[in-house]
Symmetry: C3
Amino acid sequence: MNFTPDFAIYLLDMVGIVACAIAGTTLALHKRFDFFGCILVSMVNAIGGGTLRDVMLGRHPLFWMTDLNYVIVITATSLLCQVFFGAYRRVAWTLVFFDAVGLAAFSVIGLTVALSLGAHPLIAMLMAVMTSIAGGIMRDMICHEIPLVLQKEIYISASIIGSLLYLGLERLAVPTHITETLTLMTIFGVRMLAVRFDWHLPSLQLKLGR
Amino acid sequence: MNFTPDFAIYLLDMVGIVACAIAGTTLALHKRFDFFGCILVSMVNAIGGGTLRDVMLGRHPLFWMTDLNYVIVITATSLLCQVFFGAYRRVAWTLVFFDAVGLAAFSVIGLTVALSLGAHPLIAMLMAVMTSIAGGIMRDMICHEIPLVLQKEIYISASIIGSLLYLGLERLAVPTHITETLTLMTIFGVRMLAVRFDWHLPSLQLKLGR
Amino acid sequence: MNFTPDFAIYLLDMVGIVACAIAGTTLALHKRFDFFGCILVSMVNAIGGGTLRDVMLGRHPLFWMTDLNYVIVITATSLLCQVFFGAYRRVAWTLVFFDAVGLAAFSVIGLTVALSLGAHPLIAMLMAVMTSIAGGIMRDMICHEIPLVLQKEIYISASIIGSLLYLGLERLAVPTHITETLTLMTIFGVRMLAVRFDWHLPSLQLKLGR
């Protein structure tokens, strides 16, 4: 198999899938879900965003229905993760780390897919955000958590900064694989730095002398 | 631009969109979500119901993907709302008022769209209810609230009373713009009166001498 | 009307619909939702899984839009259930029993539909699980409960055991109606026995001498 750009995207997709499956299983175990419950939550986390994107764009059949690798990789990841979960304790950091990997990977893929279908850049950015956060939001809703990504955290912002960088570099005719690598690193970097240094978006609310 | 019936419906849609964006941002700020979190919740609230309706009816592309006005109006509304949120304190009343405006606008639009596609009146009423409440239910689910619309409140009932009125007036061959105006006023009025005078639906449960 | 296999499946579908409508109304009443709130929750519970399946498979129009029986049966069931709710107290057992009936019926239907569309057996099993549990998960999310089906309960497992049995018997060329009956009884039986004797899936976690 040659290392074509399409194959690079496919590989990136699998990285995101594995990262989200780990994040999903970690939260599900923390909530004491059972074997199949954990697998289901990792599926929602890993392919929920892409499914929503394809349903909204009317693309059938869905990507994971024709390529069994997705279901197999998620199930295997969740299984391994369940077996070795006892070996680590740092649920919060695991979630944050793998969520950031998934965020970066799925932002780039969402952007690429939407642009290749001829969507307006603004809609493409919206699709990138949605593809990368919808799975995690659905996971949090099923697991009865207030979605982390909507709270005072640099999360959606990281995806948007990355998308703007991508669109800018593309306009400058930078080669695609460099654009994609820089975008990935930027999104992951901004997100991890935000967690490390506790960065937050400033509130927009006017303070009226109270 | 002439003031055609289609344009009136478009304007009505925008009124509903703005109302729902305000309601969504208000709840999201109350939950201390960040800048983009508030925008996302207002999008879910404003275009969630219509998106669900179009996905169920198989209408592609989705209305907000081809007309950027939706995304722009929601973002601008949410932004303004975030800036001036500090100026008012009455979260509950703001939610109730703008939810009622959105309920009225989206019920009429849902009914019109479904009927124009030749749906059975019963299905059209269901679509009207769904278009008008699904966005709010999704918002409440994301924000970790028990959906207000399902509790002991005259809410879905207001939409159904309005739909019945609409179907009746249409059968009587009343001009469309009068039918629509009367329906809008009825739904908004019933809902606000129900809140003001604390009307509730009676429970159907048989009381067995306990 | 002759008793054809198609009619048997339709009847089975209605049994599942009624069971899920009862389960949905029971939980909604328990949560003190109003008249229309209860009907809406029973609709989500009864046709939510099938709607999700059809939207994912791109089958339009949705089954309940062309056949009004679904909406009518759910509304009537929910209404009766609301009237006579006062007569019984055992919410938990009612939920468990009717959930199990729905699980069995919708697993068989999901499997049959997906296989008849030529899906890979693995995807068909996934579709069977999804059709049978998605409605209940959506119900629990709306009602603010952690989804029962994902916790330490033999639930998804019962559906998967049934699906494996179905695929095995089909391979052995057992007549379809016998295969379906045996599968139904197996899923329902495994689920009820698991509740009765408090069976759980063993945890996969490695215990590292703690």
